[in-house]
Amino acid sequence: MDEFEPKIVAFLCNWCAYAGADLAGVSRMQYPANVRSVRVMCSGRVDPAFIVQAFRDGVDGALVAG
């Protein structure tokens, strides 16, 4: 537990990346548990202000996937 575990917010498009994440879960693929997903209807919905706000609220990193 010594290694630093970053907190990452992930904005995932409902139709692409979120479904991809879902499939990854269903097919039992392993991936880091550091991401906290936020489902958006389109990655175009993500405003740069969301990202700055997330950093201000204390995340270590952000991921936008569409």
Binding site: E3, F4, E5, P6, I8, A10, W15, C16, A17, A19, G20, A21, L23, A24, V26, S27, M29, Q30, Y31, P32, N34, V35, D47, P48, A49, I51, V52, Q53, F55, R56, D57, G58, V59, D60, G61, A62, L63, V64, A65, G66
Partner: protein, 163 residues
């Protein structure tokens, strides 16, 4: 642009990852998440309290109208052309965007510094780590926009207040 802005604030542009995955690419998704996690892990934990002023300035920039207009018009200006019907080269517009981003960011920093109680140009320059000459140049801009006000001299030092 947001990555560039994060670089300016000092927290590092590689803390933000942007990528595309289709719904059938579960493997690719896991790869992207792993990659992003590793990059952020390398950066180490983020101490937000150190970057409070910088992040608030960044928020002002992304919520401000200048960058939003410029980015919104980007495609039109490079394809159909500007108001005179002249299409711009991508690189030329990118240069304009970069300059505007830096200017807007520094202006927001100066504004927030003055608002937090720093009054003289020299102190603002020290707090924001921007050159004194650049600070006074941007202050003139802020004054014109009625964001700050010149309130007089104190022991021959010009004093400013945020409106």
């Amino acid at each position: 642009m947001t990555q560039q802005l994060l670089e300016l604030t000092g927290i590092g542009g590689d803390r933000l990852h942007v990528d595309w995955v289709s719904s059938a690419e579960a493997k690719r998704f896991t790869e992207i998440v792993t990659e992003a996690t590793e990059a952020v892990r390398k950066r180490g934990p983020l101490d937000v309290s150190k970057y409070d002023l910088q992040l608030r300035a960044a928020e002002m920039v992304v919520k401000g109208e200048v960058m939003r207009w410029l980015v919104g018009k980007q495609h039109k200006i490079t394809s159909a052309g500007d108001v005179y019907g002249r299409p711009w080269k991508e690189e030329k517009l990118q240069q304009v965007l970069d300059d505007a981003l830096l200017r807007e960011y520094q202006k927001s920093l100066i504004y927030l510094a003055i608002k937090s109680g720093t009054t003289s140009v020299r102190q603002v320059a020290e707090q924001t780590e921007i050159e004194v000459l650049r600070v006074s140049y941007l202050l003139a801009d802020l004054e014109q926009k009625k964001l700050v006000e010149f309130t007089g001299m104190e022991e021959s030092i010009p004093v400013f207040a945020a409106l």
